[in-house]
């Protein structure tokens, strides 16, 4: 069984600062991590490897520094890593990102493609589903559990008010939540060997893709404006029992004419 997991390097913060002049993210000084949902997806793949001896490949599209999350993936136990990197990918929106990734995936063998549900920086949750469309594969998003049965998978999909059990034919694309599992730690020997292994560097020439669909040129999205949310004022803390608390809440709501 071959599994490809798409992972993204993201800044380690949910409170991303935006440069007010340019409207772009300020990434300097913010440590980078493997996107949490992607780690959940990677763990799911590694569990299939533990169970069935699956071959796990990880791919990321990003700048050369994204090498760090691929080393981490090696130390967690993946077999192969690919860094898709080229200036021509720069400035990609979700469509251009999914075009590039889908083209790279076409060069690989897979029974399952796993992505995170959502990246904590871009936050769109679009890349996985878009890729599935480009590759014309079945897709299930918001996956929290998975049973592999060869020709098909049975997945548990989380919804707002419960979950669904779905069956999908393989190969398919699954987008996974961080809450699906607790990702394993890197092992010490994995860390010792991670830097001796080869991260394959792929550029545009390595994949078969229409360059007009990549990078800024291939991105129909235009940022009209962006802003940092205004800070909420400090709240007031009352340490009281439930009954008194209800009274306080009611009177506050009345003060503000909400009730």
């Amino acid at each position: 069984m071959n599994i490809v997991v798409c992972i993204k390097q993201v800044p380690d913060t949910t409170e991303i600062k935006i440069n007010p002049a340019t409207g772009t993210l300020i990434r300097e000084g913010v440590p980078s991590i493997m996107n949490p949902d992607d780690k959940g997806g990677l763990e799911m793949a590694l569990r299939l490897k533990d169970l069935y001896g699956a071959n796990v490949t990880v791919i990321t599209m990003g700048p050369p520094q994204a090498d760090a999350i691929l080393r981490e993936a090696f130390a967690m136990g993946v077999d192969r890593t690919i860094l898709l990197t080229d200036r021509k990918f720069a400035g990609a929106d979700t469509l251009a990102t999914s075009n590039a990734l889908a083209a790279a995936l076409k060069c690989l063998d897979y029974d399952l493609i796993i992505t995170g549900r959502q990246a904590i920086d871009g936050d769109t949750a679009q890349v996985g589903p878009q890729m599935a469309e480009h590759l014309d594969l079945p897709q299930v998003s918001y996956v929290v559990d998975l049973k592999y049965e060869g020709r098909h998978v049975i997945v548990k999909k989380e919804t707002e008010d419960g979950y669904q059990m779905l069956e999908a034919e393989t190969p398919c694309v699954l987008t996974v939540l961080a809450s699906a599992n607790q990702a394993r730690y890197m092992t010490v020997s994995g860390i010792m060997e991670a830097f001796d292994k080869e991260v394959e560097i792929w550029n545009v020439s390595k994949i078969n893709v229409d360059e007009a669909k990549l990078g800024l040129a291939g991105s129909p999205t235009r940022v009209k404006s962006s802003f940092t949310k205004a800070q909420k004022g400090a709240g007031q803390v009352y340490e009281v029992d439930a009954e008194e608390a209800v009274g306080i809440i009611i009177s506050k709501l009345q003060e503000k004419y909400i009730i």
């Binding site: 890197m186 020997s189 830097f195």
Partner: protein, 379 residues
């Protein structure tokens, strides 16, 4: 001279800090309060390789360096000194002497299971009448043809009761003094071996410290470790390595107390200002921070020499002496900066101060470290 971390060290720190924060720290207060050996943590550590870091892959180890091993003990001890010493005694006092002195059969039999954490290791040198003066061994081992018969007792043995493998020093020929001491590999369950009373301690209370009893204990002939009469040298060399581990434990405790104190003094307000804003706090904390960093560099340098196979005996003594005294000073002052709250178990610095003290005592008291350092100086 290069003081920067290698890529492996950086990645390791990222992993171990997360592990310590999520898996070890939440148990620390309970492990102390209940005097509970954190077996569940040992299992988790075994899985990710923390029980066999500086062990070659051919013996089922992780192929890591001593440098990375010291970082592991430091980061674990930063949140729980009990967990730190479990790893240190297991690795430095049991795995290391087998790796360094064992024959191929002994290594193949014991190291893989120790390195994976399936078995825990311990080391027994100290006896009721042989503490600092370790040469005064009264435990005897008599050659009985196909086996050794051990009689005597050991006290204060770390990991005992939970360990499966014990490195035990015993007299094989009293007339030869230290040259009559030999080392043995004793397994839990060997006839005549038992674990006695468990100590109630000031600190590292989750760590098991017990008496070991040998009553006509039968040890297979092939379990002599190293040559006959070489036990004292093996023990001293083992302790040289162990001291780097204990120095790392002390360093971790000091760093943990520093972390807590920085956080607390910034939050706590008196006279309308944070405690951290008082110059007394700032100057004292600056001195402590400097000592912690100096201790860390001594540890790094000793571990570097061990990795490079250079002589490191005095370096190990220096890093242990300095790190242990730093840990005691930092934790004592950490309690002071916490005021009355620091004296209660609401805050971890109370535990850290109790934990720090042992680092000045075991694997050679601070006086012994001074003897080792002076010994080199006046050689």
């Amino acid at each position: 001279m290069d003081f920067s971390l290698t890529k492996q060290e950086e990645l390791f720190l990222k992993m171990i800090r997360e592990f310590a924060e999520k898996e070890v720290k939440p148990l620390a207060a309970d492990v102390d309060e209940e005097e509970r050996f954190p077996m569940e943590t040992v299992e988790k550590m075994g899985k990710i390789g923390l029980m066999g870091i500086p062990v070659p892959k051919q013996y089922g180890g992780q192929g890591g360096t001593n440098q990375i091993y010291t970082m592991a003990v430091e980061e674990l001890s930063r949140v729980c000194a009990t967990t730190g010493v479990i790893v240190s005694a297991h690795t430095s006092l049991c795995i290391a002497p087998i790796l360094e002195n064992g024959n191929e059969e002994q290594k193949m039999k014991y190291i893989p299971k120790l390195a994976s954490g399936e078995w825990i290791g311990a080391f027994g040198l100290t006896e009721p009448n042989a503490g600092t003066d370790a040469a005064m061994q009264q435990t005897t081992a008599v050659d009985a043809g196909d086996k050794w018969i051990l009689n005597g007792s050991k006290i204060f043995i770390t990991n005992s009761g939970y360990a499966h493998v014990y490195i035990i020093m015993a007299m094989t020929d009293k007339s030869l003094g230290t040259k009559g001491i030999s080392a043995f590999i004793v397994e839990d369950g060997m006839p005549g071996f038992s674990v006695g009373k468990k100590e109630k301690k000031m600190g590292i209370r989750g760590s098991a410290t017990c008496e070991l009893i040998f009553e006509n204990c039968e040890v297979p002939k092939e379990n002599l470790l190293g040559n006959l009469g070489k036990g004292f040298g093996i023990a001293m060399k083992t302790l040289d390595g162990g001291r780097i581990g204990i120095a790392s434990q002390a360093l971790g405790i000091a760093q943990g107390a520093m972390d807590e104190t920085v956080k607390y003094t910034k939050e706590r307000k008196q006279f309308g200002k944070s405690i951290a804003s008082f110059q007394n706090t700032q100057f004292q904390m600056a001195d402590l921070e400097t000592k912690i960093q100096a201790a860390r560099l001594l540890v790094r340098s000793a571990a570097y020499k061990k990795d490079q196979k250079l002589p490191y005996s005095a370096d190990a003594a220096m890093c242990k002496l300095f790190a242990a005294e730093t840990a005691m000073e930092v934790t004592t002052k950490a309690v002071q900066f916490h005021g009355g709250y620091g004296y209660t178990r609401e805050y971890p610095v109370e535990r850290m101060m109790r934990d720090a003290k042992i680092t000045e005592i075991y694997e050679g008291t601070s006086e012994v470290q001074r003897m080792v350092i002076a010994g080199k100086l006046f050689k």
